[in-house]
């Protein structure tokens, strides 16, 4: 398993990178801004110096042409930038008339009025009457100034980086605390505890996770509760058949005569058959209520009824019950979308009930019908019927109408309903034909409407 990326590391690393990028940009912008301002100020000073010089030269020229020479400036005043300003005065032909000590013999730049840059000197050239005046200044000066200005602007920001990082870390810790708490709570949880997780403080980001988690816990809990109830019910419901088996087995073992032993063994066999059937029905219900494993496929209800009839045939024959199947519309193949095995189990339980509780020699009518968007399967018998007030209770697991004959498990209709509901259908109980007997009607969505159900 690869180690997951830490939110904290990503946020912290990202913040540092962004911070450095922004600071770099800010420093560069500050440097460029300072440079621009410095250029303007220094250029203005250079131009002013040139003009002052030109004016002086003009006044001086009235006293006759000056001999070429070098003007010695007064000693520097120890101002750091002072010595870096130089000038030259040239005649119209470009011959050097005067220059400051720091200036070269040759003109700084071609004799064209305006600013120019030569060999890291900034030069302002001015034509004034007979003279050209060039004032020059080393770029070092302004570069140094710009760097210092930019540094002054950026330094407090850089100094603030650690503080900002600490603040980000603290905020992040605060922001991610609910997540850490969630992890802690889940870690420390008893394995069997499925109670919802609650946090002292949550956030908009954790809330959906928490909701999803608690939803899952709730579903797991109710599934486990259902399983437990099923197991407990099964254990309870098996007690009576097992008690009967045990009694008959012990009676057989202690029998005083062969006839007694035989009678007990016969009853034991009947008890075994009943127990086997009960366990089979329990498994059928358990399977029916299990999550739908296989994908549903188109299933013919006609085929389902036929298969179920084959299974129930021995009991029907034994009790001389006649079954008729009628399709509406005539002989149409009625298709539903579902699990064929489960639907066969549903039909088998309906027919088995009819075979058990309908009077011997009576008739059972199976009806297959199509309604808009739905298919119906109904089984109608001529049995004792189910009182209206019991028509809901009979669907409960293990419920048997008091005094019912035979050894039914009380699970048949529970299985029928479970399977119907899983197929998006429903079951209802009505009076049979002529207000006697029972009609159980199962309604299932027709195959065509499966798209709507699956989405």
């Amino acid at each position: 398993m690869s180690r997951s990326l830490s939110i904290r590391a990503v946020l912290l690393g990202g913040s540092i990178a962004i911070l450095l990028l922004v600071l770099g940009a800010a420093a560069w912008i500050a440097y460029r801004g300072a440079q621009h301002e410095a250029d303007e100020v220094f250029d203005a000073r250079l131009a002013t110096s040139a003009r002052v010089l030109a004016t002086l030269m003009a006044a001086h020229a009235q006293g006759g042409p000056a001999a070429p020479g070098v003007v010695a400036f007064p000693p520097p005043l120890d101002h750091p930038y002072e010595t870096k300003i130089a000038f030259q005065v040239l005649d119209a032909q470009g011959r050097l008339l005067l220059r400051s000590a720091s200036a070269p013999d040759q003109p700084y730049a071609p004799l064209e009025p305006g600013f120019s840059t030569r060999d890291s000197w900034r030069v302002f050239t001015l034509q004034s009457g007979e003279h050209w005046v060039q004032a020059a200044e080393s770029d070092e000066v302004r570069d140094e100034l710009c760097a210092k200005l930019a540094l002054a602007a950026v330094t407090p920001l850089v100094a603030g980086i650690p503080l900002v990082l600490v603040l980000i870390a603290v905020l992040m810790r605060y922001g991610l605390a609910p997540l850490a708490e969630l992890a802690r709570r889940i870690e420390r949880r008893e394995p069997a505890s499925l109670a919802p997780v609650a946090l002292a403080r949550s956030t908009a980001e954790i809330d959906p996770v928490l909701r999803a988690l608690n939803g899952l816990l709730g579903r797991v809990q109710s599934a486990i509760a259902r399983e437990r109830r099923f197991t407990a019910d099964a254990a309870h419901e098996l007690r009576t058949p097992l008690a009967a088996l045990k009694v008959h087995a012990q009676n057989a073992a202690r029998a005083h005569s062969e006839a007694e032993r035989h009678a007990s063994l016969e009853r034991m066999m009947a008890g075994l058959e009943r127990s086997v059937r009960l366990v089979e029905q329990m498994l059928a219900l358990s399977r029916a209520s299990a999550a739908r494993a296989a994908a549903f496929a188109p299933v013919s209800l006609n085929q389902v009824v036929e298969d179920a009839l084959d299974d129930v045939l021995p009991r029907l024959k034994e009790r001389r019950i006649k079954v008729s199947v009628a399709s509406d519309p005539d002989d149409a193949e009625l298709m539903v979308h579902g699990d064929r095995d489960k639907l066969t189990c549903l039909a088998r339980n309906l027919l088995d009930n009819a075979a058990r509780y309908a009077p011997a020699g009576s008739a059972v009518r199976v009806g297959l019908g199509a309604a808009p968007g739905a298919a119906t399967l109904s089984v109608c018998d001529q049995g004792p019927g189910i009182a209206p007030e019991l028509r809901e209770r009979v669907f409960e697991s293990y419920y048997r109408i008091p005094g019912s004959p035979g050894d039914g498990s009380g699970l048949g209709l529970a299985i029928v309903r479970e399977i119907a509901v899983q197929h998006g259908g429903a079951v209802e109980i009505e009076d049979g034909d002529g207000a006697r007997g029972t009609r159980v009607r199962v309604t299932l969505p027709a195959a065509a409407s499966r798209a709507a159900r699956d989405t």
Binding site: H236, T240, V247, N251
Partner: protein, 220 residues
């Protein structure tokens, strides 16, 4: 001895009936709450084996009503309801004992014997009557130490009389405890059994109370 069996499960009821009958009890078997209540109100049972999940009326309700109506017969509840609270509820409703399904038939028989022993205030299962000794576990009878072979109904009759020494039992009571409600009894069957017992044991073991019935007098 005559027992009432209340059990709605056919197969289990048949098994218990077999067990009790083979242990030489006369068994009356009813399968619903209302019938059980009617039987208890009618009375005449030496013990009752009562299931709880009954059609018509729950066994606990049957028991409460019977007790409220003055029924004193010892009752053993036989139920699949095994939680402590359910057992306590059963005992508090008036049961004398509680057995959870599935159970062992030997235990059921032992507990039924306990109920009868307590009912007559005895310390042991064995009934001693002078030189006659009846063992309800081994289903054997001895007279002066010698085993005496008794027919099923002879044993049942002797058991019934020895369990209540000195108490006169009517012919109807005795016939019911031998044959139940629906057994077709020859009018002189009871007299034949008494005659056989006197012959196999000794003449004075059972005294005839003219016009009423019989009594086993406590030995002097």
């Amino acid at each position: 001895m005559r027992l009432l069996l209340v059990e709605d499960d056919e197969l289990l009821g048949a098994g218990i009936e077999d067990t009790l009958t083979r242990a030489r009890y006369a068994v009356e078997w009813v399968r619903s709450g209302p019938l059980a209540l009617a039987a208890l109100e009618h009375g005449g049972f030496d013990a009752v084996v009562l299931d709880l999940g009954l059609p018509g009326m729950d066994g606990l309700e049957v028991l409460r009503r019977a007790r409220a109506g003055g029924c004193l017969a010892p009752v053993l509840i036989l139920s699949a309801r095994d939680a402590v609270a359910q057992r306590v509820a059963g005992l508090d409703a008036g049961a004398d004992d509680y057995l959870v399904k599935p159970f062992d038939v030997d235990e059921l028989l032992a507990r039924v014997r306990v109920l009868q022993r307590r009912a007559r205030g005895g310390a042991t299962n064995v009934l001693e009557h002078g030189s006659v000794r009846l063992d309800p576990v081994a289903l054997s009878v001895t007279h002066e130490g010698r085993p005496v072979a008794l027919q099923r109904r002879e044993f049942m009759l002797l058991h019934k009389l020895l369990a209540a020494p000195g108490q006169v039992l009517t012919r109807a009571q005795l016939e019911e405890s031998l044959y139940g409600w629906d057994g077709s009894v020859e009018s002189n069957a009871l007299d034949v059994h008494v005659h056989n017992l006197r012959r196999k044991l000794y003449p004075g073991v059972i005294r005839t109370v003219r016009g009423i019935g019989y009594v086993a007098d406590p030995p002097a």
